[in-house]
């Protein structure tokens, strides 16, 4: 479920939804239900095709309503591993030309192509879907005195806020997001995910409750190599969004999940917090829980809650944060959404429901449900990704 947000950049998606002016549009009606999330990662960095993760979404079909599905895959572009892979939705050819010209001002485009898709009756009205492998020009970085990640992040923000008909929905190295309007299993089929080999996959089936179901609003939401899939509803969305805007992050995708991605980027990349510290900010323990801890832990948790109080995420959520070389699963501190974790050999599985895990691997071991606010962090062995 996702939260109210209404600033229509595109009016046209309401027509796509088949809801005219007379009827209530999405956002004015409320459909209580839950999204689906899942992930699989190999600690040894062994590559898996997309078939397993697609299979995980099938038993959770009821958790989606066909208005969004998507996947993030890590390790899929080894031949371009040094370049940022920009995945984009483009309204038309003119938009692509525009965007390409804009990119060339600051970056070298080493390769550009349409992302291969399969024609299927389950997925319609697709925009142009392209990927650009880019690297920022050294001269630009030197004159702006920023590193290449900051340059790419700023470029993505600029395109998404200012360029008509273009959305960058994935911008990391050696990873990519694939998303669309449709059920997740159909989205996986549409993008031919069986052709990709990744050491880590995350997935999402969307059931938008208060915000439009459109291509850019599907999960995962990604910036650089951080991607988020999310089941929940952020009550603190506007407080979080306003805080993030002070640091140049613009929420443009008409859904609450986007802000979690920017919070992760801000706290991990810019503030250099650890994943555990990130969890202690966005799913901060209650003061009474903090009080029961030892003195050092109390001081740390108090510090994080105080300094980043505007980044506490309230309301129900379960999220999976993907990043280069690992992932992290986290529930809100009250655990108002479900999440299960299990292992089998080198693999770790995470999903909203145990059935989804068993669809990937029937004989999993060490199955458990993490407590609210307790991060589950999985890392691939150094040198294996």
């Amino acid at each position: 479920m996702e939260k109210v947000r209404f600033r229509c950049k595109h009016a046209s998606f309401f027509f796509f939804l088949g809801v005219g002016n007379m009827k209530q549009i999405e956002g004015q009606i409320r459909i209580p239900s839950g999204c689906a999330i899942a992930a699989v990662i190999s600690r040894e960095g062994r590559l898996m095709s997309g078939e397993k993760i697609i299979a995980s979404m099938k038993p959770m079909h009821e958790r989606s309503n066909g208005l969004g599905g998507g996947f993030a895959a890590y390790g899929i572009y080894p031949e371009y591993r040094d370049f940022f892979a920009l995945h984009m939705f483009l309204d038309d050819r003119a938009a692509r030309k525009n965007c390409e010209a804009f990119l060339r001002e600051t970056m070298e485009i080493v390769h550009a192509e349409r992302i291969p898709t399969r024609t299927t009756p389950a997925i319609t009205d697709e925009p142009l879907i392209w990927r650009f492998f880019v690297t920022p020009l050294r001269s630009v970085l030197a004159s702006m005195q920023i590193d290449e990640e900051e340059c790419v992040a700023r470029t993505v923000m600029t395109i998404n806020t200012q360029m008509k008909g273009v959305y960058v929905f994935s911008s990391g190295k050696n990873m990519g997001v694939f998303k669309a309007v449709g059920f997740p299993e159909d989205v996986g089929h549409f993008y031919r995910l069986e052709d990709y080999e990744a050491y880590s996959w995350t997935a999402h089936g969307r059931y938008p409750t208060n915000t439009p179901g459109w291509w850019g609003g599907a999960h995962p939401f990604a910036l650089l190599d951080h991607s988020i899939v999310h089941n929940g509803e952020i009550s603190s969305y506007d407080a979080n969004r306003r805080f993030m805007e002070m640091f140049g992050y613009r929420c443009t995708l008409q859904t609450d999940t986007e802000v979690i991605t920017y919070i992760a980027d801000y706290l991990l990349r810019k503030q250099s917090l650890s994943l555990e510290e990130l969890s202690a900010v966005i799913a901060a323990p209650f003061w009474s829980t903090i009080k029961a801890k030892d003195k050092t832990a109390q001081e740390q948790l108090r510090y994080l809650r105080t300094v980043f109080s505007s980044l506490l995420i309230t309301g129900p959520f379960s999220i999976i944060l993907g990043f280069e070389g690992g992932l992290m699963a986290l529930n809100d501190r009250l655990k108002l959404r479900s999440m299960v974790v299990a292992e089998k050999e080198d693999k770790v599985f995470i999903a909203s429901e145990e059935a989804a895990i068993r669809a990937m691997e029937p004989d999993v071991e060490n199955l458990f449900a993490p407590a609210g606010g307790e991060p589950v962090i999985v890392r691939v062995k150094e040198g294996q990704y």
């Binding site: 038993p59 009821e62 655990k335 479900s338 429901e353 145990e354 059935a355 449900a369 407590a371």
Partner: protein, 240 residues
């Protein structure tokens, strides 16, 4: 015993087949189908695999036995019957149940027994063999919740914030509960002889389903938690 292979069935098809076969029923290949046995009044339903959410919702007399784990909201609003889980159970088990019994061999997730109630001769029971997650018995208004803490995972018998908003019923923990933090509006004390005899029935059933030594399990201290009538909820939200 009638056999249904659920591996190719969605929840609607599966539940239609279940409705057409009262009596002894075995479901295999179950994977995430929701609402299994919802509202069922009679018969015995055995499930191999992982049933989906809201298993036995509104159950009204039938018995459901799961050979494995169950997911969220098992026995939601159930009125009568029995659910036996040979494994662990997800969040919100026995949500608002008002009759019947649920037995869980292993652990329970968050909010087990939330909003349980009782009325007239209806006295629901939720028996958890392992440990329970946070918010156990949240807003409990009736019935019996019993946690045995038999699992060897090292987890505490119950996590944070048990009995928040408790209004009625009884919650038993097989523990002396020395370090347990409870809200001010409830009262914890060692179970009386009469109360211990009362829960003996549930422990006997538990051992019959899952094994274990009833005398050994009963030999431990038990704590019973009930609402504190001398300290009712006041002025939490409005002046009253």
């Amino acid at each position: 015993m009638f056999h249904i292979d659920a591996s190719q069935l969605d929840h609607r098809q599966l539940n239609e087949q279940i409705q057409h076969h009262s009596g002894e029923l075995l479901i295999t290949g179950c994977l995430g189908q929701r609402f299994i046995g919802a509202g069922a009044e009679q018969g015995h339903l055995e499930i191999a695999g992982t049933p989906g959410n809201a298993l036995g919702a509104y159950l009204n007399g039938a018995c459901i036995e799961v050979r494995g784990n169950a997911q969220d909201a098992v026995g939601d609003t159930m009125n009568d019957g029995r659910i036996i889980v040979h494994g662990s159970i997800g969040d919100a088990a026995g949500y608002a149940m008002r009759g019947g019994e649920i037995y869980v061999q292993g652990d329970a997730g968050y909010r087990a027994g939330i909003h349980m109630k009782a009325y007239g001769d209806k006295l629901p029971a939720l028996v958890i063999g392992g440990a329970a997650g946070s918010f156990l018995g949240e807003y409990q208004a009736g019935g019996v919740i019993l946690v045995l803490g038999l699992s060897k995972t090292g987890r505490p018998i119950v996590s944070n914030f048990p009995c928040t908003g408790m209004h009625g019923g009884k919650l038993y923990l097989r523990s002396d509960c020395r370090d347990l933090l409870l809200p001010e509006q409830v009262e914890a004390r060692p179970a009386s002889e009469e109360e211990r005899a009362g829960i003996g029935r549930y422990v006997r059933n538990y051992c019959a389903y899952f094994g274990g030594d009833q005398d050994e399990i009963m030999a431990s201290p038990y704590t019973v938690i009930t609402p504190d009538t001398k300290n009712p909820y006041r002025q939490m939200y409005v002046l009253n």
